[in-house]
Symmetry: C2
Subunit: 325 residues, 2 copies
């Protein structure tokens, strides 16, 4: 049966979704009571929350429901990893139009499961909330285990440290640009057929934007290797490097030769969800980390010694035109 | 300065909101990094999430922003209390129209602070997310500490137990009914002036609906007194008592004389957020709990031995007419 949420009602829809959700190895009490109970073996837990909203954050002409579940999981897992923690569980507050199909919600659940299986196998969905809303909204709260280590904050970088990145730079922004340029109709509205064609003719071009694969396991590896500071690069390398510099009262000098073929895009493009970390000089960089600069005395972000002040990333407060599609 | 979110931007708005938010005594790392870190002293934590959405869950003509913050906090705290836990922290994912005023968001933060101060003084807001959306959406995730005790589930009621309630029955539904009957314009749309007049002429009539005061501390007291099952009465006593009965494979027989002047309203009215608990016979009932029935062999809910099968509570899937106001 593939009715709408309004036709089937909450209880029937949840019965369809629950079996598709990933299990958490930290779950002591799962869905079905007033609250879940999770293990926090070292007496602490990491928590972060991030929301995806139809319009500013995604277009249904471009993203499948499976993509949306995947991306909502992946972006939250990345914030947990950026503390040096191992993701343990997610709770998902979903607000969907009453006209949404239960098949769409099943695909959304599949996206959460596939992302957890690929990126954080011990992590699962332990609870949530299903509401009706005119605006499809996916609010995820994610938890992590520090395994007895100190959290890796943004404030620990010291002059002399190596600046290293794991993940892509500018790929998500390039994908978004391609969608706006090549998957919109003459009126500028997102077009599903054009997006599907673009996705099959250029495999990989849209993946980081629509279905990102952040290096979740590298968060723990960075902490074990002695990372002094770390964050999830969600708003563009320029802006996010400035956040570490500011919190650490130091400057970050980036090596332009490490920024790829399009350094401007690498610096300004948001949503890559790589991990940017600093390590004491001489550290053998773990996992997928590669050196892209160093921490120096001063403030702000430099590229080869020259201050970098351009605005970076996608800002829905300024950039969203109010459209959906 | 009282600009809109769109004019001020996220950073400036957060700087205005943060100082108004309540502090959590469990906070090890607070807002400003990729994630927060919270203490979980007994190696576990309770987590629940609940969302309030403009339209199905509230009308801006009836609720002030301070009311909304209060209610969003109170309803989530109640789910934590219903596990027998002490609330420790909240994270708040807020999605608001770009035209929202920063003054409105300050009032929302005030509501969270006032509710925590009044209901759970150790609890505070440790993180969140601020997004733009056409639909004002308040998604709260709440945490609690079991202090080494087993969680009080819905499944532990046994024949012979006393059924007890702390809190109101039907008061929230009576308030909602009064709003629809006496605070709407001739076209049936919510009217702010009529609501204000009704609130001042009939103090208390609307409070449980707009600014509920659930008996949060009684959750811990019930657990200490040996409660065998407990839940937050959010969907009406009839429906929520059935949930305990079903999970416990027993029946709940309610005493009509304990249901007040309007037993039908007491059974069907949702959103009271009282605590319904079962205790072994002979238990001295703690805090504000009063006996309202007993657990017997069988299944479902009875009133003085007669099966009660009416639908209870407000169901946005069936009851929301799509309006906002």
């Amino acid at each position: 049966m593939d009715g709408t949420l309004g036709e089937l009602g909450e209880t029937a829809v949840l019965a369809r979704i629950f079996p598709r959700l990933p299990a958490s190895s930290a779950q002591l009490v799962g869905p079905g009571d007033d609250a879940a109970v999770l293990a926090a073996p070292d007496g602490r837990f990491v928590v972060t929350t991030d929301t995806m909203i139809h319009g500013p954050d995604f277009r249904l002409a471009w993203s499948s429901f499976e993509d949306l579940g995947w991306k909502a999981a992946a972006t939250n897992l990345s914030d947990v990893a950026a503390m040096g923690a191992v993701p343990t569980a997610l709770v998902v507050a979903l607000a969907v139009p009453a006209t949404a199909s239960v098949l769409d919600l099943e695909r959304l659940a599949d996206g959460f499961r596939l992302a957890c299986e690929a990126l954080a196998p011990a992590c699962g969905v332990v609870g949530g909330d299903l509401s009706v809303s005119d605006t499809l909204t996916i609010a995820v709260t994610a938890f992590g285990d520090l395994e007895g280590r100190a959290p890796v904050l943004r404030s620990g970088a010291r002059a002399g440290d190596v600046v290293a990145l794991s993940g892509t730079l500018g790929a998500a922004a390039a994908g978004l640009r391609a969608l706006f340029e090549r998957a919109t109709d003459p009126a500028g509205e997102p077009d599903a057929e054009l997006a599907t064609a673009l996705r099959s003719s250029h495999p990989g071009l849209l993946d980081t934007q629509l279905r990102p694969v952040p290096p979740i396991a590298d968060g723990r590896l960075a902490a074990l290797a002695g990372a002094t500071a770390m964050l999830d690069v969600s708003d563009g390398l320029g802006l996010d490097a400035r956040r570490i510099a500011s919190a650490s009262r130091a400057a970050i000098d980036l090596d332009p030769s490490a920024l790829g073929a399009d350094p401007a895009l690498a610096l300004s493009g948001g949503e890559d969800h790589g991990l940017l970390a600093t390590f004491p000089a001489g550290t053998e960089l773990p996992g997928g980390f590669r050196a892209i600069g160093r921490v120096v005395a001063g403030d702000g972000v430099l590229v080869d010694g020259v201050p970098y002040d351009a605005r970076g990333g996608w800002d829905p407060y300024d950039d969203w035109n109010g459209g959906r599609g």
